[in-house]
Amino acid sequence: MDLVFNLLPAAVPYWLRVGLAGVVCAVILITLMALGPIAYVYVETKIAGFMQDRIGPKRVGPHGLLQTVADALKLMFKEAIYPAGADKLLFILAPCLVVVGAFLSFVVLPFSSRLQAVDLNVGLFYVVAVSSISTVGLIMAGWASNNKYALFGAMRSAAQIVSYEIPAVMVLLTVVMMAGSLSLQDIVWAQAGGLSRWFLFRYFPLMPVAFVIFFTAGLAECNRAPFDIPEAESELVAGFHTEYSGFFFAMFFLAEYTEMFVVSVVASVLFLGGWMAPLPMLQQLGPVGLGPIWLLAKAWSLVFVMMWLRWTLPRLRVDQLMYVAWKVLLPIAMVLVVVVGGLVLWSPTASGFPWDRWAGWILAPLLVAYLAYMIVAARRWSARRTREMAA
């Protein structure tokens, strides 16, 4: 916002400059949010197709690129049906609230050192706070639909999101203690200086665990498989959005994919160095900053992992979900908070373990090597099978 503010000539009255800057930012972000899911849905269908040994969309546009556009248009022009006995006001308000909840987080996401709508000094706190608004929307949707399946979905989602918020926030505390700030921009700056400075690789065995906990809880908070019990299609038909159609349904869809993106961005800001490049020299290409590209690359990799999990894993049951949250993630998160807090306060380890300087440089290549090995092994497996088949 400051960027836009400064671009406007000083002759323009102050209130107009603030107003215009706000509007411009809002328009850009809303466009980003509205167009993003179109790309994600297309990518998701293609990934699903790849995993399920089929082609995926290919009829509309080249390689089916326009399929989601067509879907979105169709959804927009479809009739919105209000079920008999529904609370109409709440029924309409609910999807709006869900979208707003997902969208508000965008305000503080740092896409680079300057590309950020507002750098709130309580940024992280703000993200946590506004992302809970969606829950209210989901419960409203479930209640207003006058449908038992929707109600079940709403209650499940409330229980799930409230439960998983706790380990997620606990883990956020460790990051905040290390960075010493709630501002997302400050957190990114605290990870400056290449791969090994990323919070993921600090306090070596501790922070990777924190990352896994945060990512798991994030998955659960955006109702993605294997934690998609609020909309479990084989149990609750479609959960809280069973009764929604047309544009209102599209809004739930939008919110889900937006939340996925937000969670991924927040995870990369907190643990993967945000818009920082893995090597400091890759940060700039001549005069052009590559910050947004690095951030999007990290966030989209995490989105891909989410899709990958969705098409691989079965769904958990309600009680198992709660078990994971309260008996596995939460105790670990609590221990992490205490231990990391102590380490940060204790002067010898205040800036990390001695091996932190090179832990990242070893772990990251190992991780990449492992992934590469898996891909090669999978290819070899399929090649062997094909050969056996032909024999």
Partner: protein, 386 residues
Amino acid sequence: MSNPAYGWRVDDIDTDEMILNMGPQHPSTHGVLRIELRTDGEVVRAARPHIGYLHRCFEKHAESVDYPGVIPYTDRMDYVASMGNSLGYALAVEKLMGIEVSPYVQTIRVIMAELQRIASHCIAVGTYGMDIGAFTPFLHLLRDREKILDLFEWTCGARLLYNYNWVGGVSHDVPDGFVKAVRQFLREFDAITYPEMIDLLIKNKIFIKRTAGIGVCSPELAVSYDLTGPNLRGSGPPRDLRRDEPYLGYENYEFDVVVGEGKFGPRGSCFDRNWVRALEMKESAKILHQAVDRLEKMEHTDVHEKVPKRVKPAKGEVYARSEAPRGQLGYYIVADGTGINPYRVKVKSPCFTAMSIFHVLANGMYIADIIALIGSLDVVLGEIDR
């Protein structure tokens, strides 16, 4: 009317309980089944299945057409495994008339029945994965079921409802190159389908956690409710008609009867029933390997050789069972000796009895487990309602 069998009436539910009506339009009731659930939050206190939404008066139709004319109707009962249905009917009428088909036709029937068993279990295991939330294995298995349907289409022109097993024979001889195609399919099955299914679905930790230990059915309960096929074998008793009362020369094939082992929790759980299905596919493949080897060396006879010009059994009645993919399929056929129509045909379908145990197993489950239970019983509503 009061229903002590289900232990509750609509007007005596508690204030914190509610009735959840699952179906007939519900994504995972495997057709049009309606279940009335009395739920306390997520916990199901009682369940009451309602069937009949797919009732097509099979038994009434059977009385108004002649004996061969019933076969297309049998195909439509268990539409996921039509070969097994018409085979059971053909065997029953042949028993009634004392027809003995040639070994060649028997081998063809065995091949078709076992291919159908694999295809049917592909659907069963695949949709079970989908019920639990894993979508990918379903499409992988469907892809391989497609290959079997191609073989059937090649043989008799139909992909779903074959009208293939006739009284006294089969409708078409297998085409040239059929044996080679089956071998190719079996290679693919052994190399890809089976290991992939085991790795991706059966060995998945979440899948095991979701299914092992729920819906546990003791062997006594299973026998009392006349569960058959994989549902019974999941509880332990190694009862398989192909082994116990061999027909079609099954006694000459080497295969194992798979039973539930209770690897991850009590024996007879949903996991065991599904596990039996998954492993049975392997056994069917074993039988197929032997059957195609025999078919090659065998003297070819006309497949219509024993088909009677007019099917008109003498007065009598027969109850004949065969091991369909979903369990023992029994036909009770009464012939009055005067008409060319059956006097009475009663079908004891394995899914009918499997569904009747549902309300016993469903008590005290979570709603998500209800889905897992329906899937593990592997019911096809076309066969329940007939």
